[in-house]
């Protein structure tokens, strides 16, 4: 392939840009995963990741993608044939429900338009219908990566409480963790699902389950056959910093470095930064006149912005043009919005000028693709960012 000068702009909503420090931390020899040196690494990672989930409960780490952590959430807490309540709010919510079906669970899927998060009244109704408490788990995606829509997880918790429904609350934090405020304990989530390749600023290959006491109780009752993803042996080994099978050591080196970085920048500062960069992105989008997939401002995502292209245009053409001309990857439209919406990822190790370059690429791409837009979106973003910088 001919050399593409300069840095590639990886502005998909994950995998995200891995800081050089993290890449370097992983670029070292593997160590014996039964050694004292490893145990120290293991404990640093297992303890450190708790603060990111804002939990004091155990967090289980698998060598897998986030999909594996979904499976783990179900198979560790439920029994064959259990009923699950899910909401079709986007591609990943849908995939998760589908996987539950494949695993033999009965899944009630509340349909959606892919432009909103979970609507509390629909959740309340579904729970009310389930007077027998057949529903054992409610699935919620905190930030739907395919649409840029966040769901109000405290609202979900409140609705469950108000319904006095004992279903476990399972939350996908894959594209919110370490980017959008997520409070595992305060919100009393039972199982959270996370992945390494987004806000944690790591390459893909690690996945997480943050647990609750109730989840651990459910685990003891669960008869679902499980092996690789079994929490039991994990938790037992983890107490001493070890894992029941060979862990992905080099990704743990990376995780340790990411956790250090989080301490240096501070979680609250990270959330504020994501909010600021997301808002700048929306300023540009609004100026361009592109409609957001997220219909409700209260649900706008701070890690990904999905934008419709006007009728008569295909998002894949726009993205291909931008990739070819400007060496930037944007996120594809998925599922229901395939062909109609593209996504700008603004998650992880990002700053104003990287976002500036990103928006420049989108604005030039719109022009090249012949898509009607109002020039000056970058400008609008800069005005917003300058105001923010003045205030800081």
């Amino acid at each position: 392939m001919p050399y593409k000068p300069g840095r590639h702009f990886l502005q998909i909503p994950g995998p995200s840009n891995v800081p050089d420090r993290v890449l370097r931390a992983m670029d070292r020899p593997v160590i014996d995963h039964r050694s004292a040196e490893f145990a120290q690494l293991g404990l640093e990672c297992l303890n450190g990741i708790k603060s990111v989930f804002q939990t004091s409960n155990p967090v289980v780490v698998f060598p897998s993608s986030g999909t594996g952590a979904w499976e783990a959430a179900m198979t560790n807490t439920l029994n064959p044939g259990d009923r699950i309540l899910a909401f079709e709010i986007g591609q990943f919510a849908t995939l998760w429900a589908k996987m539950a079906g494949n695993l033999g669970f009965r899944v009630d899927v509340i349909p959606g338009d892919w432009r909103h998060g979970i609507r509390m009244e629909e959740l309340a109704q579904a729970l009310a219908r389930d007077s027998g408490h057949e529903i054992k788990a409610v699935f919620a995606v905190h930030n739907e990566t395919s649409t840029g829509v966040t769901t109000d997880i405290p609202g979900v918790r409140r609705t469950l409480d108000e319904a006095k429904h004992p279903a476990l609350l399972m939350v996908d934090t894959i594209s919110s963790l370490a980017s959008i405020d997520y409070r595992h304990d305060e919100w009393r989530v039972d199982v959270a699902i996370g992945g390494s390749q987004k806000g944690l600023m790591l390459p893909p290959g690690l996945a997480f389950n943050a647990l609750s006491k109730r989840a651990l109780d459910a685990n003891r009752q669960s008869k679902f056959p499980k092996g690789y993803f079994d929490w039991g042996a994990m938790l037992d080994n983890n107490t001493r910093g070890y894992f029941p099978y060979t862990p992905a050591t080099n990704l743990l080196y990376g995780l340790r470095e990411s956790l250090l970085i989080f301490q240096e920048e501070g979680l609250q500062a990270i959330f504020a930064r994501h909010k600021k960069l997301a808002q700048a992105t929306r300023c540009a989008a609004q100026h361009w006149g592109l409609e957001m997939v997220a219909a409700d401002p209260s649900e706008y995502s701070n890690t990904v912005t999905a934008l419709f292209v006007p009728d008569g245009f295909r998002e894949q053409d726009l993205r291909a043009l931008i990739l070819e001309k400007f060496n930037m990857s944007l996120g594809a439209g998925l599922g229901k919005v395939a062909g109609r919406a593209f996504r700008i990822g603004h998650i992880g190790d990002l700053n104003e000028l990287m976002l500036g370059g990103t928006l420049c690429g989108v604005e030039m791409g719109l022009e090249l693709a012949g898509i009607p837009y109002r020039a000056g979106g970058v400008n609008a973003a800069l005005r917003y960012l300058t105001t923010q910088a003045k205030a800081s």
Copy 2:
């Protein structure tokens, strides 16, 4: 921790030493796993790994440890409650059988002394007893990492053939792949299980299933609930170089580099090198007067040598001393031989002088630990290696 000068000697039987070239190949930004650039990477890896298994059938790659690939082998081909035949020849054979039990399969375990591989007559008898062909799978570990014992896989195949038994043959190649000759197609293995962190010279985090036509047929009949490890979506996506969920991209960068290295050195040369270094290790062990766990010379492993310490000594003390004084990690005794045998890994990216240093460390450790031994084991190894070098 105070600095330990020089290189650590990682002489456990995996994870093995990762060549700098491979570490460097992984030390680069993640790319979009939906891009054309990724597809090229995916295809190179998926095609290239076939030659390592010596197969023309598909090889499935999971972001997981080898344990995950075991689970995948079972859940993709069997049905709930199926009967499996397994042999307790060592720690990993035992763990695999135990996992099968946890997943709800019925497992017949033929007991063993952990010093031999599968005995063909015991296999033949077990198959003969199963006239109703209830046994759906036979588990075999090609190279038992815990004992340094190899099993004659062509013999297993022959025995199955002679019994005209239709059970699927599943082979764990985790510590033999790319180090000891393994011929998936020629030996008509149905599912092979592999991992990244041994002969493939990668960090842990990838696992493999090499398939057969019969395995694919069985997959279509399998009703076992599965999600993450489902071959179906994998094989479908793999045809275009993609994966159904986020792959461990950076490990794939590494795999591509390892595959290049294999082409440069040549698989046959790699097998010969492992044989030579293993033989040199055994020369030293014999000279020292340490008994091998592997009782039958025809089953000696070319990737790991497990050696008993004399009664009255503990292998963990020896290893701790060697780690402290000479900065070398050796493999612990596991399961039945815990406390009694230690293991020297000689797998992967290794050469004569690295092995020389390793044996120096063991010989000095024996002296320091006060273990009775005959000095000159290193010498004996050098004599053998010199003879080999003269002949080459």
Copy 3:
């Protein structure tokens, strides 16, 4: 230090951004500099660098900064007390002349306003005055890094020819090499001076002298005492790929990789890219209403743009603000324009979106610093770049 999220924007006119590929190529063990493997590396570098200078004559490589290559140019070709003609066109031209003085040469410096390159009429007059051909060397800086002004080297050559003056022509290509078209042989330059840390996309630490036949002849006559920078032993050892003393091996690894990249992108494409990105920068500057230090459009640099801040403002304040708020380094004003002009580096491994981000940072910085400017400079650049992208 608190973590600064995202990538630092290193937009000084060198050291420039080192591609990850080049950093990775250097991140490997040193090899024996007397080995056959090294000789291959040496020959690849020594041959490859010729094409970058567009010469078939030898290029000498020193472990040093560019300053060392300046010294080498003089001490290898001149004799103590020789007369040199230099032009005070900017900071580096001035430093070079000063160094010549320190080394005991007699230097005639033609004064300048730091806003123009060498004026041919002034050169012609100086040569005409020197009817005795006392002047042994003429110094020219191809691209004055401190001001963003290029000098017409073919014009200098022509002027020397027309004057029939035998002085050696010495050209500083430090911030033009591999970025702005430089033709060593065609322009009959006698000694060119280059450094690793700009267009060659390497860290600092290597410096270059491209030679001519006349320079080699002069070298044989030179009585100037010299040691480290002596071409003689260099050229002798270089024929076999070696060096007379320990070379900076890891930087040579990097150079080999840069040379590969040049082959992939193509020198002409690289020159065109620098021209395009420079033009885009000037579009922004013009829109902002900031005056360029370079007064003559025919002398605008394609690697660095120096811009005056209005009276009453200090460039160092602007840069400090941009560094603090937006994590970008810009070039300081040097010498005569210190405090009055800042510099935007656009040299080396750069693309449209990196430049976009850079210009966003400058525009926001102007706003924050309260410097009068017309908003929309980034927009103006994007319009230009879009037009260029359409045409490509």
Copy 4:
């Protein structure tokens, strides 16, 4: 080239093995060498390196090889035509004297047999002859890399003192620094010369001058023309952590990491380790029956051992065989001992097992080359090392 499995053994007396930590520290983007961040790096390096020289005087750092630091030592303190006293004790001592001659100094070279260091009586006589104090500098090589002979620097100092001779004492510490105890201030050395690629465990590319008050005084009187290597501008810029021209930033990253490592291991522990590994090497050599080039045990080097091959054999054949068969680089015979002696480097980041592998390679090489030797040299080394380990 076909892949050479395992690690290359780089056992030349420098460049030495670079720890992965140091390579990783250098594998990061360049920073602005005029920034506050750089100043911090500069100060850490400039202060830290003093402790390695055991001096409280300034240490100057050049982007160059050690040869450049030699030149700097002379041109900064002497005047054209000054007389220098040198001793032909090996290749590097000879080269240094030759360079002095090339630079126009008058050099008195006391001949030697390349098997001894400076003999104090010869030094005393030479000083006594120089009643007019024409000799302005005495050159001494602390550890002659070509022969493995150390010179008693305190003895040299004492002899100068006793002669009441004011000549500056210049000491080459290139292959002793940070490996063999060198005390700049205590021994009242005036200029020490060092390089990055040996005991400092860095790639080549940095060189050092440690100074004394007298050297600084001499510098003020020196009329020798100088540019690149001028201490003046260096010292001036260094006070604030900067350099007068672009420094080799990435090597400074590496130096900072090496300095950290020195703190962790401790200089005294490093000297003791080098002594132990050198002694083990000599045990092997003695057992093999190979004669050392160093004739006097009190002058044995702790960083390099040069060994004669018996008459009728060529050291280059032995080395070529070892490189081909066992992937190890040994040092060539240089100058007077070319063809007759090879060198084992044991400097820098080395431990017992790396040395064990090294000696295994030499012993096997002797056998393959048909050189008469007594088998068991490795054994002898192990016995010594085991005794040492017991005592520690």
